[in-house]
Symmetry: C2
Subunit: 481 residues, 2 copies
């Protein structure tokens, strides 16, 4: 009864994995038990599913490209487009070998607007998703979802459950508002929501950004929630080349946290606060901050200087050992615009935040908030009541949205990210801007006295108070009798 | 049973109309039959209503001013705040003489955000609405609404019916989206929505922009819908100092329309098209383009030059005869930023569009789309069916939203506003930028060769097609088997 069982698994040439397949951020090379979930059969037999997805996306995005340029309207969020793709083809769709299927596109025009906002052109989107092979990843989370990554490493396609897809649709107007107001948001960049219907099954897919770029190898990866209960990577996870560690692991590895300069810390915390407020307003819980850490090797300044001059190919293969980033690109990799974390409206959307660990190592930190759609409030509530019988409620990651947001925010801004202790300001004159040493370069990553005004970090208690309509008021300041 | 009958009409000092009261854009000086509508008793006895409104707004806006700075969320659109104002005062509200009343504020935080977007600070808003007298206007429309104008001429308070207030609330998310995308929008700037409940009656009020500034006297005023059926000002209206003429009057007075330079015409038509699409998407009909025309007197260049140097008070009294605008300010009055019509995010929100009439007179045209809340679809439909028995349906202004939008747009962009016929470009060198003659100044108002790229004006048929989900598709351009 799998999705692909009643279709012919004929794989077009373009979909055969080439030998040059890059190693992904997750450990797709380690074989694990095959799971069947969300209608996608795994371990190679999903080729026809991939093919049908590519066909469907190519059709719907190609169609949008020809539309008139107009503003997004409220009702664009509720549009669902459906196209039938008979195997033998018809006047509107080409013939294919994936069996008859329907392909639904949710809110096509709204997602086109979002993609534009994120700087993704229809051509780039089509090319990456439809003309190059999709690479299947082993499931990095516990959700049982199936993940594909586009060959260019930029897009993640994730299978989602019915409830999640439905929830994302409801989220769209608020999501629009957040993108409009919070340009530095760390929330996932949603590029599209689709549903492939075949053989009576629905395979719902969301296309998102991959904010851990393959070109910068991560040395450490954490999934952080601000909870401590059972938040430790399993022994099975630890066996992976790049395990996804959790809160307790982070606290053990980095008891002092990661150090950011003051302005970046302020900006990042403000962004997390704003994102948490949006998540809370939609009663979302159980999201994580995914943190990828790249350690810049300070020990080899000669080599670094070399690499500044060198011209390595950006397509160079990515090793998961402590491979050095191309130092000629460090500046490009570093956040600008006062955004710490995600930036919308820049071409290269994946820039690291310069940081230090307590050993004094220079880091590039890549972060994003993930898993915001699994807001099964009822189920989670039950789960919590049950768990609460045995454990302190405060340490369980499943809790009411306000509490969850507050704890998340507090953990990230006080335990995970800290301000570099300010030494008294020394007004030394900077050396002239010639590239003489690699240390000069690294210093540029840590401007301790940038001009950006520090955002006021209001206390987390504000977060909740702000959501309640103010029924208690102070007397008006200007009215005189 | 009037709103004010059970309250003591004690007028605080600040609310007594001073002798320096300016003449308003409408003919408030001409006495007419007293109407009672929307719960507001007219002709002076509404003083206590005005007082209560001012007290309510001062309280609610003063309260918002103290809130934390945060993003607007979806649920902010649905918040209704209510405060009880007992006559004897309480710990939260001051004592007053308007009788006990409740004051409701709709979507307080969302409107605060809109006001910020429009460049209205809480202090300016409070001061203009609550610390200065509100001036009651005779009703310029047929809706039976009561209008107040703030003393600084910037804000209009209009009473609205229950359905209109409800509709505005529903409109808010879409309104937010339009402000975000269409910076040049001509839709009303909504600053606040309130409801005063007293003696079992509800007085609902919307605060909007006054886009016809008193400082520039209008010589002609038109309310245009693109319809011709009965669209002629009544003989009673014509008796007023500044009548509001209608479509048929415009066509008679200006058979050739008003001439804009090409770029401005393109920009204006694009804006009207975008606004119409939003209105159509909310099934709104029967809105008007209110057009105020100021005729710049070309006949007295000497005097104009004088006035450029002169320093007349901006508060100088406004005559409704052909008074000349302060020419030192012409440049300030003229639209910039490629927006023809309304601009958001500029300090002076009321700038005229330079134009010419067929007599060759230089004009400043002030425009805005009004009456977008009276979308009583059911009532209007009935009205239409009934009228359609006797008249050609096409010429009745009450029609389905798509047809209405298309006709409106076509009328404005082909009959009302026309492009100045392009003479072959002459590459004369401009005189150096010293202010030698007033003609130099006027030429600046008509840059025929500005650098702005002309927006593509898609046909009005697109408008409707775009609202329908595309079920018919062309085959995808990039997919190859």
């Amino acid at each position: 009864t799998s999705a692909a069982s009643d279709t012919q698994a004929v794989v077009p040439d373009a979909f055969v994995d080439s030998g040059a397949e890059k190693q992904m951020i997750t450990t797709s090379k380690i074989p694990g038990p095959s799971r069947r979930n969300n209608g996608v059969k795994k371990n190679g037999t999903s080729s026809s599913v991939k093919g049908a997805i590519q066909l469907g996306i190519a059709h719907t995005v190609g169609g949008i490209g020809q539309r008139a340029d107009r503003d997004v309207l409220m009702q664009d969020f509720y549009v669902v487009e459906s196209t039938f793709f008979p195997g033998q083809g018809c006047s509107l769709t080409p013939a294919h070998h994936y069996g008859d299927f329907h392909f639904k596109t949710y809110a096509p025009f709204a997602f086109q607007y979002f993609r534009e906002l994120f700087g993704i052109s229809p051509v780039d989107y089509l090319y990456a998703l439809c003309n190059e092979p999709l690479i299947e990843l082993s499931n990095p989370g516990a959700s049982g979802s199936v993940f594909f990554v586009s060959s260019n490493d930029e897009f993640i396609i994730k299978s989602v459950q019915h409830k999640e897809a439905e929830f994302l649709q409801k989220l769209l107007p608020g999501y629009y508002m957040n993108l409009n107001q919070n340009k530095c948001t760390l929330l996932p960049k949603f590029y599209g929501l689709y549903c492939m219907q075949t053989g009576g099954r629905n395979i719902r897919l969301v296309v998102m950004n991959n904010f851990l770029p393959c070109s910068v190898c991560m040395h450490l990866k954490y999934d952080l929630k601000g909870s401590t209960f059972k938040r430790r990577a399993s022994s099975k996870e630890r066996e992976k080349t790049l395990p996804t560690f959790k809160d307790l692991d982070f606290m053990k590895d980095n008891p002092d946290g990661l150090f950011l300069d003051s302005d970046r810390h302020n900006a990042l915390c403000k962004t997390i606060q704003r994102d948490c407020l949006v998540l809370q307003s939609f009663k979302i819980i159980d999201y994580s901050l995914l943190v990828g850490i790249h350690i810049l090797d300070q020990m080899q300044p000669e080599k670094m200087t070399e690499m500044v001059e060198g011209s390595s190919s950006p397509q160079e293969e990515c090793e998961s050992t402590r491979q050095k980033v191309h130092y000629s690109k460090i500046k490009d990799l570093v956040q600008k615009d006062g955004c710490a974390g995600g930036i919308i409206e820049t071409k290269d959307k994946r820039r690291g935040i310069p940081a230090k660990n307590s050993k004094g190592e220079q880091l590039l930190v890549y972060i994003g908030i993930i898993d915001i759609l699994q807001s099964y409030r009822l189920v989670k509530k039950l789960e919590h009541s049950w768990k609460a019988l045995f454990h302190d409620g405060d340490t369980i990651s499943v809790h009411r949205p306000g509490f969850y947001a507050e704890r998340f925010q507090k953990f990230m801004c006080t335990k995970v990210f800290k301000k570099i202790p300010q030494s008294p300001p020394t007004f030394t004159k900077r050396s002239p801007p010639t590239l003489t040493s690699s240390h000069r370069l690294l210093n540029d990553l840590h401007p301790s006295f940038t001009k950006q005004s520090p955002p006021t970090l209001t206390s987390s208690h504000h977060l909740q108070n702000d959501l309640r309509p103010l029924f208690t008021k102070q007397s008006p300041p200007t009215f005189t009798k």
